[in-house]
Amino acid sequence: MNTPAPPSPPSPPKVAAAGAVDATKIYGVGDAQVRALDGVTVAFEQGKFTAIMGPSGSGKSTLLHALAGLDTLTSGDTYIGETYLSTLDDKQLTELRRTKVGFIFQAFNLIPTLTAEENIRLPMMLGGESGDAEWIDTVVTTVGLRERLSHRPSELSGGQQQRVAVARALASQPQIIFADEPTGNLDSTTGAEILDFMRRAVREYGQTIVMVTHDPGAASYSDRVVFVGDGKITGDMDEPTADGVLDHLKQHGV
């Protein structure tokens, strides 16, 4: 490791649901070295819908993976709630992902052998819990899946599959949901529907969501946009609009 580990950081601020402190991720050695993350410090507030934007290779996905405990850093740290992830072993990380984190991926979000309902309950079932029945019911109603609960993923449309994924992320009432290009594989109407669900989850139920996207339209659903370029934070915008985001991107020559 080239960079010495930072001194044990103070307790994360209460308002942040998750964040990174001087997060650095280096791939390769010598001349072939790539700094995917170069000392990123950022915090994501509770109850907000934050979008991370940036071009391909900017490090936005690496940041999301590090925040979610799927990837490790070369130096620096990420935290969820009051827990620094570098202090956890694989077992504890798995436990954290199961109980504190929700995931929505771009594609292949569901286990093909399980029904929609089983997919929604999966994280809780893995922990041997049944979850909050009333809340799950609310989630199912909200995403409009009641009729489809007993269907397998192969019997659902792409949009319906993503709705199940959103429902699964919400069902366990995690501290934070990470979404990686959740609408990337959908047409714009269906994508808008999914983004709307996500925004409602934040507005109505106080959920925290961090979403990686490269689509300014998708980013406009969020409360705040964090711009990433070359492994660094290059900008921050509250209450974004599609045009505002586009302008920012143009200004920064992307």
């Binding site: 799927l70 199961r98 292949f108 286990i111 999966l122 893995l126 922990g127």
Partner: protein, 848 residues
């Protein structure tokens, strides 16, 4: 695309998928190794024995012996010792050495019988010189006259007997004493192939052995410069027509033939298991090819899209298989040498005493290895390569277009193959057309088709059955259990093909188990109902017991009835039959042979008892006369005096007197049965019989119950040996499940990554894969048990009633097999579950 580019692609593909390639190669190599090992072992044994007999008869140019009228294992009739002088008188005969080998047992100072571990104890005549049999003096001078003996040096050393010591020995005529004048050996060795030897001069031997002026053979060495053929012709003109002369080469050949018959039987038995193993390997290779071609769908479709023809795609797949098959076969040939060595070690550990060199690889072995190794690979890739050739180019862009469903055609094909296999098997077992070859073709071929058919049809029941097997696992292990259950059920075809290999192994074990249980039950039943004898004395030396043993037992006052059971071959209407010879009066008290007509006890000389089967075949009734020709040319006319229904003691029974009247060959008893007198209690009786039998170490005394137990133990042992030989196939089957599962894990990388991302821990991941394997293996085990039980029942019904007349099942073994199936699954899951749980979550999710 030229042929060379197809070859290039095939080579590259093998290299790119190394793990899978190794797995297929292991399956082929294992099968080929077993086949090669079986041949190498049998060829090596044949070689060793042929050399041994060549060496033994090296100095024998000609041999004079009595004629056998037909081929039989009965000992040849001895010849008059007076012939020796006639032979010696012939021009060109340098040495004419009479040979005489009989039973002789040394007794030590404490009155105990001296016995080499398991080896025979023999008495021989020896004229004192090295002779042509290669006897060498280690120390002392040759024995002369009735009071002198020579013994082998190994026994002398072990028993600390020195020259000048007085020894006691037992022969067919009773106990004798003699002074040791020499220790002897065979060539450079101190012993005679593990036998303990007492050597006497010819006249003494003739007398003490009760040989009645007759010897076994006369071995002849022709003088230097004399023409062997001329001497042979001269001898033939002198000898009567009951005596013949043969060359030394023939002697060696015949001796080797006897052993080789056993070697052939042994080698062919091993080969059967070797081919079963190869057959199982074929299933696995086929399954792996099927799966990997499915996984390479996009690549293959892309090749089609850029201009490869369907034929070229097929050629590429076949090319890959060909390279693999050749390489794996070469490895298998070398592996075969190791297997042969391993088998020798294993059999020697069980007391077989094989020579330890096994290096004979005949060209035939290598050719068969390639036919088997490359052949099975090519057959396995036949269907997958055809499917690959049919992939439409557009599948490169739309993978869901991949393979058309073959469900219905496969099912119909499977049912047809199953029915054809079943019919062939039943015809082979019951109608038995065409002898041994017919049996191999119909029963063997039918069995193979039956396995292929059932494996194919079983995919249609795979879903419901595995769901049922998985139910308790689902309930017990929650999410990992449910996932395991679903994953098994989602690809019923793959499940059934990977379970098929285990199914074959398990069904063969199950069939053997049913057969063994039925055999045991029939046997126990016979012992309980038909044999009322209290004691059974069997022979441990494979030479038969000297009549002295039975005579000694007959004099034990605690026993009320004793009879030896002896045998002789005789031809009835041109067919060779085995006749049992007994003391009929004692026999009636000891055995209940289910007499239908006539009497037993009154069996007179030239009377015969016949089992109902031959009686029916030959239209015999009480009073019918039967002409019998014996191997020595004697004949007798036997009168049927009784007809019986229990064939435990064979189909034909005569009295000892009848046998002795027609044969001068030394009498040897197979076993002896005896019964306590009414007033004697078991303890006193046991002690008395044990004391009487003590001086005969080859005689193995057992009570009725002990005998039953030892026979049951032998049947169990047989089952264990069969299971061990099938272990090869079962190990490969487990390997097959493991490969299939690993490929499945590879296919589901994204899915596993997702599960890990949303919170499944490593243990749950491992558990899920493990239970998946257990469900597959249990599925295979259950189908195998069902099919195997059926095969076992057919087999048991097909053998004659005197061997198996009652069907029996052994639930314990079935339970053991089921548990074994679960364990097989756990073993198969070791690698795939490790691989699944150690996946990098991020990489897994990012996988295309």
């Amino acid at each position: 695309m030229s042929t060379s580019s197809t070859a290039l692609l095939a080579r590259r593909s093998i290299r790119a998928r190394l793990g899978r390639t190794i797995a297929i190669a292991v399956a082929i190599t294992a099968g080929v190794s077993f086949v090669v090992g079986s041949f190498v072992l049998a060829d090596s044994l044949r070689d060793v024995f042929t050399d041994l007999f060549d060496e033994l008869s090296e100095d024998v140019d000609l041999q004079v012996r009595s004629v056998q009228e037909f081929d039989t294992n009965d000992a040849r009739e001895p010849i008059e010792v007076t012939l020796v002088d006639e032979v010696r008188a012939i021009d060109g005969v340098e040495v004419a050495e009479p040979t005489l080998t009989r039973y002789a047992q040394l007794i030590n100072d404490e009155g105990e019988a001296v016995s080499p571990a398991g080896g025979p104890t023999l008495g021989v005549s020896w004229e004192g010189d090295a002779g042509i049999q290669g006897v060498t003096i280690r120390e002392g001078v040759p024995p002369e006259g009735p009071d002198e003996v020579a013994i082998d040096k190994a026994t002398a050393d072990r028993e600390r007997i020195s020259i000048g010591d007085e020894v006691t020995y037992l022969t067919d005529t009773g106990q004798h004493t003699g002074t040791v004048t020499a220790t002897i050996g065979l060539g450079d060795t101190d012993s005679f192939g593990g036998a303990a030897l007492v050597a006497l001069d010819l006249d003494t031997a003739l007398d003490k052995f009760g040989a009645d002026g007759k010897v076994d053979t006369i071995d002849i060495k022709v003088a230097d410069g004399a023409d062997v053929a001329a001497v042979e012709a001269e001898l033939e003109s002198v000898l009567t027509n009951t005596v013949e002369v043969i060359t030394g080469e023939q002697v060696a050949e015949e001796s080797a033939e006897g052993v080789n018959e056993f070697v052939d039987l042994f080698g062919n038995g091993l080969l059967i298991f070797a081919f079963i193993t190869t057959f199982v390997s074929g299933f696995i290779i086929n399954n792996v090819f099927q799966i990997t071609i499915g996984q390479r769908l996009r690549e293959l479709a892309l090749m089609r899209a850029v201009g490869a023809s369907g034929r070229q795609v097929r050629r590429m797949i076949v090319g890959e298989a060909l390279i693999l098959g050749i390489v794996a076969t070469i490895l298998g040939v070398f592996g075969g040498l190791a297997v042969a060595r391993l088998l020798i070690t294993a059999f020697n550990a069980a007391g077989a005493g094989f020579p330890s060199s096994a290096t004979v690889i005949q060209p035939r072995t290598v050719i068969i290895a390639f036919l088997v190794g490359v052949g099975i690979t090519m057959l396995s890739v036949l269907v997958p390569s055809r499917r690959a050739a049919r992939i439409p180019p557009v599948a490169a862009m739309r993978p869901e277009l991949g393979f058309g469903a073959l469900g219905r055609r496969r099912l119909i094909g499977g049912v047809v193959v199953t029915i054809v296999g079943l019919v062939m098997f039943l015809v082979g077992m019951f109608a038995q057309p065409g002898g041994t070859q017919g049996l191999i073709f119909f029963a063997g071929g039918g069995g193979l088709l039956l396995f292929v058919g059932v494996a194919s049809v079983s995919s249609t029941i795979a879903r419901p059955v595995t769901r049922a097997i998985g139910w308790p696992i689902d309930k017990l292990f929650k999410v990992p259990g449910a996932l395991a259950r679903e994953n098994v059920a989602r690809a019923p075809r793959r499940t059934s093909s990977s379970a098929a290999a285990l199914m074959i192994g398990v069904s063969l074990v199950s069939a053997a188990a049913v057969f063994a249980s039925s055999l045991r039950t029939t046997f126990v039943d016979t012992l309980e109902n038909a044999i009322t004898a209290d004691y059974i004395v069997t022979d441990d030396s494979f030479q038969g017991l000297s009549p002295v043993v039975a005579e000694t037992l007959a004099e034990v006052p605690e026993l009320s009835a004793v009879t030896p059971v002896r045998g002789i071959s005789g031809q009835v209407e041109g067919d060779t039959k085995s006749f049992g010879a007994v003391d009929a009066i004692a026999f009636e008290e000891l055995v209940d042979p289910d007499l239908q007509e006539g009497t037993i006890g009154g069996l007179s000389e030239n009377g015969v008892l016949v089992h109902t089967d031959p009686a029916g075949d030959l239209d015999l009734e009480i009073g019918s006369e039967v002409e019998v020709l014996y191997q020595n040319g004697e004949t007798s006319t036997l009168t049927v005096e009784g007809i019986y229904g229990d064939a435990t003691f064979g189909n034909w029974l005569i009295s000892l007197d009848t046998l002795e009247a027609v044969s001068d060959a030394p009498a040897r008893d197979f076993f002896i049965i005896g019964k306590l007198a009414d007033e004697v209690d078991a303890e006193t009786g046991d002690a008395a019989v044990a004391a009487a039998i003590e001086e005969f170490p080859q005689a193995n005394l057992q009570t009725n119950a002990e005998f039953r137990e030892s026979q049951e133990a032998q049947i169990n042992q047989l089952l264990v040996i069969i299971s061990l030989l099938l272990a090869f196939a079962i190990v490969i089957a487990v390997l097959g499940i493991s490969i299939t599962l690993a490929l499945g894990v590879f296919e589901r990388t994204r899915e596993i990554g997702l599960l890990r991302a949303v919170g499944m821990n490593r243990r749950q991941t491992r558990r899920s894969i493990r239970w998946e394997a257990v469900i597959v293996s249990t599925f295979g085990a259950i189908i195998g048990i069902v099919l195997g039980t059926f095969l076992g029942v057919v087999l048991s019904l097909a053998v004659p009633d005197d061997i198996i007349s009652k069907l029996a099942f052994n639930p314990t073994i079935t339970v053991i097999i089921l548990i074994g199936g679960v364990v097989a699954g756990l073993l198969a899951a070791l690698y795939p579950s490790f691989k699944a749980s150690n996946m990098d979550v991020l990489d897994a999710i990012a996988t295309e």
